[in-house]
């Protein structure tokens, strides 16, 4: 029987090498795979390129990974927020690189990688500094910018329910980038709040089919970034 379950977050991330490109699901705090990120901090892989919409908050989760100096470059749409300080400080000191990508283009580039589409045209950024150096082209009298797919070696994903073949469902707006990143990484690692039997997820309700998932680890009572920050926690 196919069974993608692994026993711990530590073993799930153990083969992520230095220099890897890692997608991290979530939009701000919602859908962020905090336990997998903390396992990656314990694991210690360095020189990472990390793809996420943001750069984390406080000193837990993604912000802690960045603070631990494991990240060489961030690819994101919105690198600052009310409670982010780790990334801004390193960025201002020139200690971390930034590739800024508009949110919809970021989503579509990730989806394109998963769908085998090496490039596509979008109106987003036309006429702005973010289109500089990019190929533009007119279709039906309007200008568009060409954007390339965005792939990763690993994806760290948080979901609500998973089965042993890797079918996933999400909870509300914690879905966000997670299903796309599942498609775009060579190895997709998922933490799920509930691991259920094969057949327990209605095939009509599957959001991420198991073909996009390599490893599933149950984290039945996940922490939440906002809660950790409210408690003044930091990691490690």
């Amino acid at each position: 029987m196919i069974n993608k379950q692994v026993s711990s977050v530590a073993s799930a991330v153990a083969d992520i090498p230095d220099g890897a490109t890692v997608m991290v699901g979530g939009f701000g705090a919602s859908g962020s795979p905090i336990e997998l990120i903390h396992a990656l901090i314990d694991h210690g892989a360095k020189d990472l390129t990390v793809i996420n919409n943001n750069t984390g908050n406080g000193e837990v989760g993604l912000a802690a990974l960045i603070g631990n100096r494991q990240v060489r470059k961030m690819i994101c749409s919105f690198p600052r927020s009310s409670q982010s300080k780790v990334f801004p400080e390193l960025y201002k000191e020139g200690l971390i690189e930034l590739e800024l990508v508009p949110q919809g283009t970021l989503a579509e580039r990730i989806r394109a990688a998963g769908a085998g589409i090496p490039a596509f045209f979008t109106p987003t950024t036309v006429g702005t500094v973010l289109a500089e150096g990019k190929e533009t082209r007119d279709f039906d009298g309007r200008s568009y910018v060409m954007e390339p797919w965005l792939k990763a070696d690993f994806a760290l994903i948080k979901c609500e329910t998973a089965d042993p073949v890797g079918n996933l469902t999400y909870n509300k707006t914690a879905r966000n980038f997670n299903p796309l990143m599942c498609m775009a990484a060579t190895t997709t690692i998922v933490q799920t709040r509930k691991l259920v039997k094969s057949g327990d997820i209605d095939p009509e309700h599957v959001i991420t089919p198991g073909i996009f998932v390599n490893r599933v680890v149950e984290v039945s009572d996940p922490v939440h970034e906002d809660t950790l920050i409210a408690e003044g926690r930091r990691y490690p």
């Binding site: 919602s30 508009p102 949110q103 919809g104 989503a107 707006t173 796309l180």
Partner: protein
């Protein structure tokens, strides 16, 4: 509130005025800040469906603190609720709604708007500033109508309605209409044109506080 009226519209009044221009049944995306207030002033007999770009249609008002769901946020990362008939979806589907022209109206705040509809609301371009664009460039290119709500001038009195944006653009030629504390202003092929003056405001005052040629109502 005569005093307030004589110096134009306040934040709520600007939002309420914008809400008047949104047709019944519209799919609406509201930016952070004053634009969020539009949801409080839906005209009697109309219903808007709110899109939040992090993956939801049918966004409802903020929950009571004890009813918060940590997995139910809006694009401003505030906790929200879902109305009956809501739907969740992933980011690529969400931005397909935006880029594909399915959202009827987006109401945004801004730093500057130019007379040709250019908008600059994402970066001052200052050296050393950390750039952060989010979904702003997707929204201005994709949504059918881009409305802006903004004070007519900055806190230091500089015009925000200008001939050319000095800040880096979010998008060129995309703004349809602007709601300020002083007036409702359309972007027309001939440039800015006042559609309506706030109570107690004269066209001369608007003209004086606008950094570009502006046409009177009518």
């Amino acid at each position: 509130m005569n005093a307030a009226a004589s110096t134009g519209w306040n934040r709520e009044q600007m939002a309420a005025r914008a809400a008047q221009d949104i047709p019944d049944g519209s799919y609406v995306n509201l930016g952070i800040g004053i634009p969020e207030l539009v949801a409080k002033f839906v005209p009697e007999g109309r219903e808007f469906i709110y899109h939040t770009e992090n993956g939801m249609l049918g966004m409802g008002p903020p929950p009571a603190e004890e009813e918060r769901d940590l997995d139910l946020m809006n694009a401003g990362k505030k906790y929200v609720t879902a109305v009956a008939g809501a739907a969740y979806f992933h980011h690529a589907d969400s931005f397909s709604m935006i880029r594909g022209g399915h959202i009827d109206v987006c109401v945004l705040g801004t730093m500057q708007v130019a007379a040709n509809g250019d908008i600059a609301n994402w970066s001052t371009g200052a050296p050393g500033a950390i750039p952060a664009v989010g979904g702003a460039m997707d929204l201005v290119q994709g949504v059918k109508k881009i409305y802006v709500i903004t004070q007519h001038t900055t806190k230091t009195g500089d015009p925000k309605l200008v001939e050319h944006c000095s800040y880096p653009l979010t998008g060129p030629g995309v703004v349809s209409r602007i709601y300020t504390d002083l007036a409702v202003v359309d972007v027309t092929p001939a440039g800015f044109r006042v559609v309506e003056l706030a109570p107690g405001i004269t066209f001369a005052e608007v003209e004086e506080k606008t950094g570009a040629q502006i046409l009177p109502p009518g």
